[in-house]
Structure formats: structure tokens, C-alpha cells
Subunit: 404 residues, 2 copies
Amino acid sequence: MANAPRGKLLVGQSGGCTHVINASLQGVVTEALRRKPVTAVWGMRHGIEGVLKRDVVDFGKESEETLKRLARSPAAALGSCRKKIDDSELSEILDVFSENDIRHFVYIGGNDSADTSHRIAVAAAKRGVPLHVMAVPKTIDNDLPRTDHCPGFGSAARFIASVVADTGMETESMSTVEPVKIIEVMGRNAGWLAASSALAKRSERDAPHLVWPPEIPFDRSTFLKLIRHWLKRIGYCVAVVSETIVDAKGRPVAAGKKRLEMDAFGHPRSADAAEYLCNLVKAEIGVRARWDKPGTIQRMSSAHFSDVDVVEARECGRAAVRFALQGMSDRMVVMRRRSGKRYAVDYDAVPLTAIANREKLLPARFFNRGIMLPTPAFKRYALPLVGSGLPDHPRLRGYKPRLR
Amino acid sequence: MANAPRGKLLVGQSGGCTHVINASLQGVVTEALRRKPVTAVWGMRHGIEGVLKRDVVDFGKESEETLKRLARSPAAALGSCRKKIDDSELSEILDVFSENDIRHFVYIGGNDSADTSHRIAVAAAKRGVPLHVMAVPKTIDNDLPRTDHCPGFGSAARFIASVVADTGMETESMSTVEPVKIIEVMGRNAGWLAASSALAKRSERDAPHLVWPPEIPFDRSTFLKLIRHWLKRIGYCVAVVSETIVDAKGRPVAAGKKRLEMDAFGHPRSADAAEYLCNLVKAEIGVRARWDKPGTIQRMSSAHFSDVDVVEARECGRAAVRFALQGMSDRMVVMRRRSGKRYAVDYDAVPLTAIANREKLLPARFFNRGIMLPTPAFKRYALPLVGSGLPDHPRLRGYKPRLR
């Protein structure tokens, strides 16, 4: 630690936003500002694009008040990006680092950002530029390997668990009018968020009644059979589906209906699974159905911060600075859950090669394919991450008097 | 009051659910239970359908705990309906009332429910059945005439104001990737909810930048011109549109794209305005755009109760019982805002003929067509209804250091 290299620390945010990407930024900035070897803390505007455009900000000039409020403000205060850098840009980035005495590079992001960070670390090592590259995990999708979970997941899961429980009460109320509701949630190729919709479910009447994660090929007849089952049993059904569910041939369920776009990284963007399935229910079962697509609201709603998520996101940011100053590079901060009854995590770091372009899908033990709902093991895993106070709505006992 | 008719009180919930339809139910039930002339308090399952099916519950047997918790539980605990009764059903309903000594009928609902209540009151008077019919206003759309506002509006407006402010921060963060977002909100033919999306807007950077209520015929060129304006000025744009926006000929903007359904009352159901406009922006401006459709979540999210809305919904329910016991009938409870700086309302009742099948649209003084945003007068009207603590997100000062 005594011989931690003196120099500037540059921090950035990348990829889709989360509730807590600013909590991580706050952690990085406040930790770095109080460390002597760090001569200045700079932030890049819109991730790595800010380096290429020489668009950076000096956190030494920001007020303590602003830094404090960041922790409970969703989205990326520095601006985010979805930039895949080419080799000439990589070279330019290292030039900027050398010329400006930037010795520490902290990138808050998901799989793609881990890839960018890794390429910068490798190129710096190759060129002999002294640079400590640390990635801070960030994704609502919870799909990064080697970490117990990802900052951002807990709050998005809290939103989904809450609003599915809430709006399920409406479907129950309106069961004689519109007995089916389909809610489309995010999660890319992983079903962590879809499964989280069941975290406030306490009884069979509570929504959701059926969850379809992207790991399980969509099967029309099973889907319709389960909806018919719940309509018969309780008179209504709320289904939660991932926006990326695909059929057995890997085609999005709504394919054919509309062309899919690809993003800069070649990931397919969502078709409207919920709307398609809603029409399927109307046509095949002949009941009214409606669909909701909370979209980006699920990763932004400031009424749904998970306290645990906020704290961990900040601690991941602080850990990244500590690890960089210990001389680590080409690594991502990860959380390891302690054994024992009380939930707690330790912070560690793993090589970026173990993270970049890999996905951690929902394991089989967390999902019951027979009933298409997450298992109690999943609930034990996820409940500590979303915080307390999930909805628990009352129902009337409904004592029936004798009518004439 | 001394000669208030002894007999049972029957209460029901009807139409689309809101955050506070159960708070009104709680008000009706708790007030009625403590009134001597009320011999029993019964609730109908799924509104008027419950009378026809003899499916009612006795509130005298519900626990105080359940009744207490109702006030902060969204949706209709009794079940709701969208039932338009015919003349023979009307006659059957009056038979049930006579045979079971039901002297007070309280119906919590919107325009359509007011129509049902009015028809029951008229038929009872004609037949000489002693019945006091009171309607309790309920609608997130805020479109009932003769009342300052409607229970249900404040909480839905709070949701929309909050999440638009929240998710607008993401669009700002992602401005170099996907600079346009379109959010589709409810409101039937009235722009009250759409306008409410601007209640947390403090500066030109805050979302929304453009609101399109259903009262103003959609105009493609104005819409695109405003989006181009904001893209040029701040680099991104969040537009909020009502799901029911129509063109100058009264056709839904997305018409042609899909067939519209009609509900039981002949109201057109929503096409996907936001998705259509998103594709329009991509095609005409050539930038990436995305859309969110919170759907029923906007009237159900239990993290977004407006405290004022909860209290007023309950008081409207209590007032309905008081008025019925004073001998009133064929009326709806309304709220009148007191003059003076401190927000307060008085409860009164108006004839149902002034309510049923009429709509109160957003008045011209509440919306600035030049910039397509609500006026300060609208904010003064609506802010007391949504409660305190709307999002107020920090931004970095962004001091730029000199780079080499």
C-alpha cells in the first residue's frame, strides 16, 4: 500500500442504467478523494466515449451535498454509453491516460463493460503503461458470473416483486371482466428478474401464478394449460414473462410479428412478448386479457430502492478503489455471501476474463418447471437482496349472510 | 336524522380499480357500522353482479385489523365489475333490496357506475321502494364533473409524476445511445394524468419535455418538431402521451395498425400509441427511441399512495353514509376546494344526473399548446393532491479539468 502508484483515478459508468449505479459512483469517488496516492478523481462523461471526446469532470469540485444525494438517485450521473471500442480507439485511450497521468481506471458496468475494461488492461500491460483497471459490477439482470449477485438487481427485483403483487390484486378484483394479465419484465437471457416477481407471493391467490424465464423454451400448450388451470381454480391468472423468451428453435415468441433490432453488441432487442401472448390467450381461451410493460421504469423507480442494494453498490465502488491501490488490475469486484443465518457479504476481486462475455443463468434448482414458478430456494437466495416491507395485501374473510 | 330509515346498507365497488377504492370502502363500512339506523353492512361481490348472483358479504364479521389494512391496499377488496344492467336486471335488483330490507345503496365508481346508481334510484322512486342511493367518486382519470377532483387521481398522478422524473434521468444518461423515450399513460378522454407527468419537473432538463393529452388532436409535424427541438437543445427528449390520443379526424394515432376493441360501455380500448410514435421517431428523425407502458401498475403501485388521496377517499365514503342517513338519494359525493392558501376540501353531494355519462376534460388554462406542457396553474391545482416528496434528482456540476 505504501508504494501505491501516485496518479489520477478515472471513473465511468457504462451500459443500461440501474437504481444504484450512482451509489457505486459515490463509493468510488468518496473513497478515492480521501486516498493520498490519488492526485485527482475524474469522471468520464458517457463512459469511454468521454475519454475519446476528452469530456471529463473533476469530482474534487463537486459539493459534498451532491455526492451524498447521488446514492439515492437512479441512472448514471456521469452519463452512460453502449460503446464497443476498436483497436485505434484503444490506443488513443492509452495515450490520454499516459498524457494525463491517469493511473487508475474504474468502470462501473455489466458484461460488455467488463470486456472493455479487460481490453484496456491487456493493452496497457502490453504497452507498459502503468494502469490499474478495476470493474464494478452493475446489472439489473444479475447475470454476471463469479459474484453472488449484482448491484442493481435487488432494487429492480424489489420493483417487480412489489408491482406484480400490487397489480395482481386488480386482476383478482376484475376477474369477471378481464381475468388474465401478462406482465413483461427485463433480464436479457437470464430469468433472475422474472423469478423475482414471486418474492411477495404468499398464497396461491397472490400473483404471479406463472413465470416464464428466457432459459426455458416457450411452449404454447404448457402456457395455455397453466392459464386454464388457474382460471378454473381461482378465476384469474397473472403471468410474468421475460421480454426475451424464445421458442424451442431459439426464435423470440413474437417473431414474425416484427423485425428484431440488434444493439451495438449484437444482442437482440426485445419484441413485445406480453402483447403477443395476450392476443394468444384471447384467441385460444376466449377471455379478455391485458398486458403491462413497465420497461425502463423497473430499473429507475425511486420509490423502490432496496436499502441493501444501495449499501452494497457503494461498497463495491469503495472496494474497487482499495483493490486498485493495492496494485490489482484487470479484475472485477465480486460479492461472496457468508454462510450462516444472518445475511452478509464479503468483497473480493476476480479476473475479468472470468466475467467478460459470460452469463450466469438462473440455475435449475431455483425454478420449478412443473408449475413454472421459482422454488423456495430461490426465495431464500433473493429475499435478503430486496429489503423488507414487500406488499402484503389483506383480503376480506367474506362471511356470507343468508339472503332472501 | 332522528327519523333516518332503519335498514341494511349495501356497498359495492365498480369500474377500473384505483389505489384508494378500498380506502373509500373502509370509510363507508366503518361509518355505517357505528350508525344505529343501519342494521347491517353488506358488501356486494363484483359490484352489481353480486346482487344479481346473491353474492354478498357481511362486514359485521370482518376483523377490525382487516378493515384497517384496507385503506392502504390497492384494488377492490369486494371485487369490481363493468356491468351495464338491463331493465329486467334492474327490477330484480329492487326485489332483492325489498326482500332483504336494504335501505341504503352506496356505489363506489366512476361515470358508468354513476349511471347505474342513477337508474337504480329512479326505478326505486318509481316503484315506491324506500332506498337511499349514494355514489362515491372513484377514478384515476379525474374526469367526473362537479367535483374539484376524484379520489384515485392523486395516487395515480403521484406514480406518473415520480416515475417519469425517475426514468427521465435514464434517458438523459443514455442520450448518446437512445435519446428519445415515449411513455404511455392512462386517462381515457381526459389529459389529467398525462399533464401530471410534469408535476416533478423543475428545470428544462427534467422529464417530460412534451406531453400529448387526448384533448388535443395529434399532429405529427408538431410532435416531431418538438422532439427535434429538444434533441438539439439538450440532446434527449422524454414524451408522455395518453393511450387514447387521436388525430384530427378522431382516429386513434395507431389506427390502421391494429383493430380497436370496445368495452361493454362502448368506450374504445387503447391502441399502442407509444410504440407507434416510437417507430415514427425512428423513421422520421433517425434516432433510437424506446417506450414504456406502465399500464395497470400506474393505478396500483403501493409505493405511490398519496396520503391526501387516501384520507379524502375515506372521507368521501364516510360522507356518503352521512348523506344517505340524512335522507339524500340519487346523489354523488363531491369535494369542493376551499379558497385560501392552505389546501382543504369540503364534502358535498350533487345530483347524479349532473355526473352520469359526462366528462370533465382538462381545461385550456391548464395546458400550454405552444410548448405542449401543462401550465403553472395546473401545477398549483394538482400538487396538493399528490402529496410531498416527489423525486428531486441531483445533477453533477460538471467542472471540466484541462486535459492534455
